[in-house]
């Protein structure tokens, strides 16, 4: 029971901190909307071309926004010493870490999901396809958060880790990108997308169950520096 309470406290704490530090929420969101909005403006109003490139652009922008946001995940906790306290706490570290990643997803990816239908309209996608796009993002962005958190946990003790983080994490993001954009593509041509969605869901289950263990181990290594 007290573990559930601790989980919720950590979740609540991180959401509170994020809301008091709003640029952490707005930066990825702004990045995502700017990138996706600039493409239709730059390429020109050709509905066919826009519909073809929309899935790839939506997903690449979401992926880079997730990478941009990920760097904040443990950075401030590492700097102010709360990460040491978290590691030494008798509460199970992998669960506390899950709460932190979940909070991070709530503040960095959910606003992005809410904005997606609006941005998808600028690519001329129809309603069912937008629905599928939302579904793939809903399944895929938590995977990005959890996998990204492993990379951040490994590199948090390094001073300038941005590039290293990208190199570590981007290859692991590729399957999500492929199946996510492919599902939207398939839906746009009116075919069933169950297969891609099931695979994305499987990745989500794997990430939620296994990534916290890796994140906890990586954090223990990082605080020992």
């Amino acid at each position: 029971m007290h573990i559930a309470k601790a989980f919720l406290s950590v979740l609540k704490r991180d959401v509170t901190v994020a809301f008091r530090h709003r640029n952490e929420i707005f930066n990825p969101l702004l990045f995502f909307s700017l990138v996706t909005l600039l493409f239709p403006l730059g390429i020109g109003p050709s509905p066919k071309l826009l519909q073809t490139i929309a899935p790839g652009i939506l997903w690449v922008a979401a992926l880079l926004a997730a990478l941009l946001a990920a760097d904040n995940l443990f950075r401030s906790d590492y700097e102010d010493g709360t990460l040491e306290q978290l590691v030494l706490s008798p509460q199970p570290l992998s669960l506390m870490v899950t709460a932190k990643v979940l909070a991070h997803w709530l503040v960095s990816a959910v606003p992005l999901l809410l904005l997606t239908p609006l941005l998808a309209v600028s690519f001329g996608l129809d309603a069912p396809t937008i629905g599928v796009a939302l579904l793939t993002l809903l399944l895929g962005t938590p995977v990005l958060s959890f996998v990204g958190a492993i990379g951040v946990a490994l590199t948090v003790s390094l001073k300038r880790s941005g590039m290293l983080l990208a190199l570590l994490v981007l290859p692991l993001y590729v399957p999500v990108l492929i199946f996510g954009s492919n599902a939207i593509d398939t839906a746009a041509s009116g075919l069933p997308v169950n297969g891609q969605l099931y695979l994305l869901a499987a990745m989500l289950v794997l990430a939620v169950t296994l990534a916290p263990l890796a994140i906890a181990a990586a954090l223990k290594m990082s605080v020992s520096q």
Partner: protein, 200 residues
């Protein structure tokens, strides 16, 4: 409750800091770790706390027993109010402190540490000494037997140091033990105080 250290060896960046270190800490005892800058005091404390793996040797301590750790950084969040920070400390202190958990105990802890009336202020507006006092609140909010403190009196004023020494004396009298480094004179006397000199 007893902490045994056997044949401890630590290196940092290919430099050996100490080797074959051994001591025993019993309930009610205080260990003062002394040594000049760079002699490995912080590394020793981190190893004892379990933040670092020793390069050789063992730290024998019941795994499930929580400890209180206070390092160079205060472990408080600038974006949470003082009271929210204390509530988080209670959560992190674990199951043992569940009984004590309520807003009242947080407020009385703040009063005890001389921070009354600052509960709803953000630590980013605090002075360094006030932040240290807030960090020391975790001594009162946890029921852990072992305190491991790295320079706990840093940034504290005279009254703050006296307050800390009173807390430490109380903790030792109740059968708790503590390991700390300090460049300040510690105003506690008695046979329960051990000193360990690290000379690299």
């Amino acid at each position: 409750m007893r902490l045994d250290v056997v044949g401890l060896h630590c290196t940092r960046g290919y430099r050996s800091l100490f080797s074959e270190l051994a001591f025993t800490l019993e309930a009610g005892q205080l260990l003062l770790v002394e040594g000049h800058n760079g002699s490995g005091k912080t590394t020793l404390l981190k190893t004892l706390a379990g933040l670092r793996e020793p390069d050789a040797g063992q730290v024998l301590w019941e795994q499930q027993q929580p400890i209180v750790w206070l390092g160079h950084s205060n472990g408080i969040k600038d974006d949470l109010t003082a009271l929210e920070n204390l509530q988080m400390m209670q959560v992190m202190a674990g199951a043992d402190s569940l009984l004590r958990r309520d807003a009242k105990s947080c407020i009385s802890t703040l009063e005890r540490m001389g921070l009354a009336g600052n509960g709803h202020r953000f630590p980013r507006h605090f002075s360094a000494g006030m932040k240290r006092r807030l960090a020391l609140c975790r001594l009162l909010l946890s029921s852990a037997c072992l305190w491991i403190l790295d320079e706990p009196q840093a940034a504290l004023d005279k009254a703050g140091i006296q307050l800390f020494e009173a807390l430490l004396a109380e903790h030792l009298a109740q059968g708790g033990s503590a390991i700390m480094t300090s460049h300040h004179h510690v105003g506690l006397q008695g046979s329960h105080i051990q000193r360990l000199l690290l000379a690299a």
